[in-house]
Amino acid sequence: MAKIYKQILIIIAVSIVLGLTANAINPYGVKIILDKNIYALDTAKQKKTLNDFVNDPYDTTSNKNHNNVLKGQMNREGFIEPENITVELAKNVFDRNALFIDARTKEEFDSLHVKGAINLPYEEFRNKPYYQKIETMKKYNKDGLIVVYCNGDKCEVSIDLAYEIAKLGFTSVNIYRGGIKEWSSKGFPTEP
């Protein structure tokens, strides 16, 4: 019996060594300890975003010369990670004309959405080829503040869509996880 324990420990130890090595040599590897703020709320970052000037989401004049100057904020995959925002911050940037993107299906979008939001169903968007994703998004300002949301609760498509958009070179993508449920329960502007 003791032999089995020893063998189990050997297998686990070898796995750890190989795993850490593979991660170290992989240029797209991950940090060993995940930053707690990748999905969780980070108040310091929020304050910074809150005071940022919100660019006109439809002003694409700067897109031509856009070369992602914010390299320091990029992750190892070469894009700036979306951040979570609270309902207060979502409302604040809503009032300053941030672009709201609804990641749910067209039916869900048609029944109720944040006023002025556009609809990009994640399932459809994900399956588009790269050039079509660019084509869809090129009418928006790459430095404009974008807020992606879905139903709220445990829906994941807002996160997935936010990452898709961030990977296209958008520098200020935010995820509002409260979603349409929290938004409408607060009595904030919706359509139709």
Partner: protein, 156 residues
């Protein structure tokens, strides 16, 4: 039934099959820690600090266990680890199903489309694999043959 399950060929077949499944499921993740970490995150199950570590180590553990199962080295230990990881997957899957999480499993491919039916299917699949692991663990220990193998494994 017991005679059938302890039949050498049945046990070896199950062991090799399990090994192949483990290798198959690990191969896409060995160098794709980031996507696997995201898949784990979606389960909203582990403390966030352990997510990446698991994404780094687990695929390699699966891979090695798979190789050992096929080769028939460290039979009991590899079957035990296979069973332990299957139990872990089961707990994660069932908790996701109970909480109604609409997530893709992340079991084999990391780009599976998500649907709840998928999770239920994986749970059933896991139970079958767990049963196979138990058979391999229980009857796979051919003492007359295994004794020299273990001693060489340790002295080396």
């Amino acid at each position: 039934m017991k005679e059938f399950l302890s039949n050498k060929y049945v046990v070896v077949t199950l062991r090799v099959l399990l090994g192949l499944i483990f290798i198959y499921s690990s191969i896409g993740k060995l160098f794709n820690q980031a996507d696997f970490a995201k898949a784990i995150l979606r389960y909203d199950f582990l403390p966030i600090y352990f997510v990446n570590l698991l994404a780094i180590v687990l695929p390699w553990l699966e891979f090695i266990v798979g190789l050992l199962l096929i080769a028939g080295i460290y039979k009991k230990a590899s079957a035990f680890l296979a069973g332990a990881s299957l139990v872990m997957f089961l707990i994660a899957l069932i908790s996701a199903a109970v909480r109604g999480l609409d997530i893709s499993c992340g079991c084999f491919s990391l780009e599976e489309s998500s649907s709840k039916g998928d999770i239920i299917f994986r749970i059933i699949q896991d139970f079958f694999m767990l049963a196979a692991v138990i058979i391999v663990y229980k009857f796979g220990d051919d003492k007359k043959e295994e004794a020299p193998e273990i001693s060489t494994g340790i002295t080396n």
